[in-house]
Symmetry: D2
Subunit: 153 residues, 4 copies
């Protein structure tokens, strides 16, 4: 996976992304942190934790999706105009293996930026004993929203 | 939306579904409860709560997906063999409107049961002031898993 | 499946849809015809034909998707502004059963119209000996495009 | 995109894939040829042709999907057991740009092989004047089917 080569539209992309992430209460519920922010790519990490599990003790597919959706959404957000907010139109996730591990790394990457619609892909990895395993992939479509009350950042 | 007309494979489908749901710690994190269990259809409800929100104060798309995935997964589970466990292979969610509301109702419905692979659809509704609004739809593919250690129910 | 209750934006929605369909060479290759056009719902029909099959003699999943995508696309198109063209952003299809039958009916229905983004669902049925069987479902996101050269209707 | 490193299950994977492809009448309708077959990766190519177009003269999204689905399906097929047939359970396609070009290259890659369920991703490229442009991505789930009458190869 090579780094994408995108130009941000404004210098504040890093600060704006971190500020918006800090306002996502769901990320605190996940125990997730922003591991890296680059134009067109964002990485989020979280530890395994019992409150996020399904009936077999793995991370719930939806919790994996929650972190991946944020990674994709913020990857797209880094390339949006300064006044834009980001909303997810749709995503699809394929669960390749049960989400067992000590920690999880979610990588969101823009594959097609656009003024209105942006397409991203996400990869989720389980980390255990120094090894990394791909456990899920996501395809995600985002919308840049401008000028709607109550929807900023 | 008419009720699906499916026959469960064993009389314990209701009890097994409720027991498995009770083991999903993620459902407690969501504050979600099992509102109804029928062969091929399961409804889950949850209140709006701040720890589940994204940056604009709506439920995070991934949290909507988490509840919808459980609704779909358990809808499929009601029609599986007694010894089977259920895993999600993939799902896709379309977010039709921001997830604002007092409560949310997630309905999972089997559209094609199968010995190995089951296909479901999910509908998420926001409830506010006595009104109900469709906010998301899901298409979901499940797998019945038999005889794998650590994966039961 | 109840008919959706949508208002078209302009009286020419029926004529514009039929004219655009007539320009889709791919529909002639499929032997497909426009069976009905209503605001927010379009039905396309086609016979089984050998040039559309995969290796087992069923309609190729992609050919089912081609007809379903047009049904969804035109369902959305009926609700778009007069000057808009329609492009598919993405779709997902679940194949529920092999596409065997004498004829096939594809129904596209708008579930969320929008100024820019419209979401539809599609249902594909195989018809044989007077019976109808659901063989595929689609979730589809469309974009209304205005003012781009070479993209009209 | 690095080549996947998968071992085929039997030496006849190449011959079986080519024979099955030759039986897909839909590939002849597309004018598609099998450009390469490797364990876990298959490439299909086709020229632009008018009978495959939508109303703006681009390849119809469904025709792009037809070729991509075959590329993904056969990528999975190369890793399946000798007696297995392959069926598509579901796929999702994101259309990143209109399908204009002289020729098109569809690359299907296995990302998770399995005894029953295999997950692939597909990338579609438009070729024009020596340049190559990514126009669509696909996520695809396949099923290996054994011992069903009328479904072989």
């Amino acid at each position: 996976m090579n780094p994408p080569a995108f130009e941000p539209r404004h210098p504040g992309f890093d600060t704006r992304t971190r500020e918006s992430f800090a306002r996502q209460a769901a990320m605190r519920t996940l125990g997730a942190t922003l591991a890296s922010v680059a134009p067109g790519r964002v990485t989020i990490e979280l530890p395994w934790s019992e409150p996020l599990t399904q009936q077999h003790g793995f991370l719930h597919a939806g919790m994996v999706a929650t972190a991946l959706d944020s990674a994709c959404g913020y990857a797209g957000f880094t390339l949006m105009a300064e006044e834009a907010a980001v909303l997810t139109i749709e995503f699809k996730i394929n669960l390749l293996a049960p989400a067992r591990g000590e920690r999880f790394r979610m990588v969101g990457t823009v594959i097609k930026p656009g003024r209105t619609v942006t397409v991203c892909e996400g990869h989720a990895y389980a980390l255990e004993g120094g090894r990394e395993k791909l456990i899920a992939t996501m395809g995600c479509t985002l919308m840049a929203v401008v000028g709607r009350d109550n929807i900023q950042g």
